[in-house]
Amino acid sequence: MTTTPAVRTVGLTKSYADLAVLRGVDLSVPAGSICALLGRNGAGKTTLVRILSTLLQPDGGTATVAGHDVVTAPGRVRERISLTGQFAAVDDVLTGRENLVLVARLRRVAAPTRVADDLLDRFSLTEAGRRRAATYSGGMRRRLDLAMSLVADPPVVFLDEPTTGLDPQGRHEVWAAVRDLARGGTTVLLTTQHLEEAERLADRVAVLHEGRVVVDGTLAEVQALAPPTTVEQVPRPPSLEDVFLGLTGAQESR
């Protein structure tokens, strides 16, 4: 598992009508790492993630996830992945717990209710688990969404802009959850537009630009590509985020 990359694409292409979104993507994500896929709006990050999670067919090239080809063995890929999209894919009518039990049933785990309760506990949603998801805050929905992705412990997790639309508190909650995942050996491929997010979370960074991966390496390798650091003494005022988090406190929002 450590020798074969968890995600590998070679010359992956995809066009919509005349628009070539992916023009030969080569990407390799080692098992157990957190890889941040960076790129501007419309760079094709979501397209790539949708191909890797078998929701979209590529036009050319190959992509394997956990050793299985996404085109020829999509069923096997689906058994080993989970996807969390840009918009929290939870069922608003169901309670948090019912959402988790449903996914557990669909993934055919042995004890669906126990798995659901464990995940609620892990994501500090035990109290909220009895309420309908429609009543949740943005951060809670995203935590539930992540929890649903972790049912049955898939070895590869795709997170498409997991913190979009979240307040700083919610973002920190998601980051903590992602770090937890990686500690457990899960491979995480996350897309983001926030460079800070990549810096804080990822041990590998890939930059998608004009349909190709132009940079792919560890955070240190990528940082080494920048011009040499010059040392200056500049007083750094606290960032607005520091101020905001200080004022609103780090307590959980429930």
């Binding site: 999670s53 078998t54 929701l55 979209l56 067919q57 069923g75 689906r78 058994e79 992945i81 989970s82 996807l83 999209g85 840009q86 918009f87 929290a88 894919a89 939870v90 069922d91 608003d92 009518v93 169901l94 019912e98 449903l102 996914v103 049933r105 669909l106 993934r107 055919r108 649903m148």
Partner: protein
Amino acid sequence: MTTFVRATAALTGRSLTHVRRSPDTIITTALTPVAMMLLFVYVFGSAIQTPSPGRYVDYLLPGILLMTVASSIAYTAYRLFMDVDGGIFERFRSLPIARSALLWSHVLTSVVATSVALALVVLVAVVMGFRSGAGPLAWLAVAGILLLFTLALTWLALVPGLLATSADAVSGFAFPLIFLPFVSSAFVPTDGMPTPVRWFAEHQPVTPIVEAMRSLYAEQPAGSDLTLAVTWCLGLLLVAYLLAMRTYRRRFG
């Protein structure tokens, strides 16, 4: 096969929870047909001459039931649209489950929700004086026709459910279906209609289906109407099923 059954069962349970938690959808479904029944029985009914000897409500009920089915499948399309439009459909599609389970769960939910609405409408009809001496076999046949008709319209409803771009558009498609019984023998005999209208009324599926149900619970031989009704339903079902599956494959590969 068992994985398909288990996924379908889990997803149907979810979808039925949606129906259970918004029972108003069932009430709304029954509202239009019940209103039509009240209107036709108590307002227009006295002016309508029907060939059958029974009460007008007996004559009217089959058409009202078909209207109920058409009204019910608007919600089927709506529920599917909401899944497709939100992120939940993507989540289900990235899970290791048979993809046809996604559609079948909506079909089964539709059958259950429609049956409840139909029972509600029949109850109102009984209160309004509907009576039948038909035996269980005849009622089983009526239920069978309604089931086939529901399945056919349900699969048809999945097409706009998969394709619609707004919630308004998705429920709009059912209106022509709800009003189809008007241009048939459901409310008045076709004899008095102008020739082109009469031709349409006598050759569209609602007329034989209505006539067959009417004969069945009036304890008359349904004969050729029954054959024609079942043929129409099966034909519609097959076409709708193929259309829905094709739409699904086109849209989601």
